[in-house]
Amino acid sequence: MALKQTLAERILSHAAGRPVRPGDLVVVPVDMAMAVDSIAPSVISVLRQELGARVRDPRRVAIFIDHVAPAANVATADAQVAVRRFAAEEGIAQLYDVGRGVCHQVMIEERLIGPGQIVLGSDSHSTSYGAIGAFGTGMGASDVAMAWASGRTWLRVPETIRIRCHGGFGPGVGAKDLALHVARTLGADGARYAAVEYVGVDHLPLADRQTLACMSTEVGAKVGLIAPSGEVAASWPVPEWLSSDSDALCQREVEVDLGSLPPLVAVPPSVDTVVEAAGLADVRVDVVFLGTCTNGRLEDLRAAARILRGRTLARGVRMIVVPASSRVLAAAVADGTLATLLEAGATVGTPGCGPCIGRHLGVLGAGEVCLSTGNRNFRGRMGSPEARIYLASPEVAAASAVTGRITDPRALAF
């Protein structure tokens, strides 16, 4: 193709069957549309009551019970009963129940999606699928119901903001720090309606790409894309048309020297107030939460374990580890990572969202301070509006758990 295009433009051109440009409205086939336990009841109601329709192709539907799993009260338990019944009635085999893990992790683990596909989710972090080069984006109940009924959706072709990376991370620094740096640079709505595309990250493993793609929604992006290469290209079929021109016209380009990034922390209540971890040594923490679709993978647990090996949690600090999936948990058991975390004094919750949205498994009380590896820190996100949530990498989380204060992991030998 002679036309120079960004990854978002190329994927949507392929899906629409004609070359498209930013601002065009297209109606495209949807390869997969998923819903999670908290939104599925609304999707089902739009599908059945408002559309009077059924699921068109159950193979293109996935449902996850992960946000409040296991159920926290009778209301959520009843809602889950109804969702399971719906899946059975519609012949949806891809229902992932309590304990299987966070939707965005399981979608990729189960290979329900592939590079170049159009994927919708009833959850804003559906941008995560950009990690494998899929056009993943979050939508509301009507959109997901329409996709289930019709197999299609409408999209406005986004402008692209390109993040051009150079070099590699220094010790104790990783993808989360890059994502926080991007949030600081663009601002929480700096990529509204736009695609974020990372280039120069061919050396990064899948897990890091998932962190970057996931966090793209925190700058308001529609999609966060990384062209398949390295580990991703080796393990997924990549369509031959799926490539990006790194000199295609874009809305904005940001250059990042990875080697110069320090460990970073987002200060509550916004994701784009980002400072160096080393500058927050006065901040005492009560709870360290290691998990979520952003940083709950085996690599994240291992990074924390490297720091916690032979050490114990500071007095008065609780550490809650929620593996992103049952496979992550099993692998962390098999290689001894989990034992290291437990010996240090951490505890483990059911794979899933855990306390990330403040509904169960570690809700925060007034005055508590949490250092979380998640992606959102606005008031009340994890419970009391009077609690404070700092966001950082697994390395910063583990170092802070050891000292009881927000700590630059490079200050501890590991």
């Binding site: 559309l51 959850d123 804003s124 939508m139 009507s142 959109d143 309606y193 308001g220």
Partner: protein, 167 residues
């Protein structure tokens, strides 16, 4: 003539309808009682069908909950005019058929003033001036005409702009 309800920037979906008032916590039938129930309690009591919301930047940021714009639709909000909208809110509101406009001049519009929105002429008329709106694409007008995207699909079996021969 409609009344203007003026809001600032970064109005998030929790201010529009707090999570505790989600339909699965209460009931769909009650949703119309809850828009801005905590952030601006007189809104749900006094809003009249056709009234206009005028706001600053990033209106509707936060979660993907469609019941936030739905509550505004139930009370009959005539249109939302903001300097910018958060992405998922914009989609959800558009799908529900609520007229949305992005405009740079919203700071000049006053809370509580009377104004007339002329969608066909793409302008807002106030006592202190006439303000131009960017006319929406046909795709959007078609959704408005049928009340919602779901309504459109029910009637035609396709999305706006798709060939009429679609299955």
């Amino acid at each position: 003539m409609a009344r203007v309800w003026k809001f600032g920037s970064d109005i998030d979906t929790d201010q529009i309808v707090p999570g505790r008032y989600a339909p699965y916590m209460t009931s769909e039938a009650e949703l119309g009682r809850y828009p801005f129930i905590e952030a601006r309690p007189e809104f749900a009591r006094e809003v009249r069908p056709g009234d206009l919301i005028v706001a600053g930047r990033n209106f509707g940021c936060g979660s993907s909950r469609e019941y936030a714009p739905k509550a505004l639709k139930i009370v009959g909000v005539g249109a939302i005019i903001a300097q910018s909208f958060a992405r998922i809110f914009f989609r959800n509101a558009l799908n529900l058929g609520i007229p949305l406009f992005e405009a740079p001049w919203t700071d000049e519009i006053l809370d509580g003033e009377e104004a007339t929105l002329d969608i066909d002429a793409a302008q807002l008329v106030t006592a202190h001036g006439t303000y131009a709106l960017v006319p929406p694409p046909d795709f959007v007008r078609e959704i408005w005409r049928e009340g919602s995207l779901v309504g459109y699909y029910r009637k035609y079996g396709r999305f706006p702009g798709e060939g009429a021969d679609r299955r």
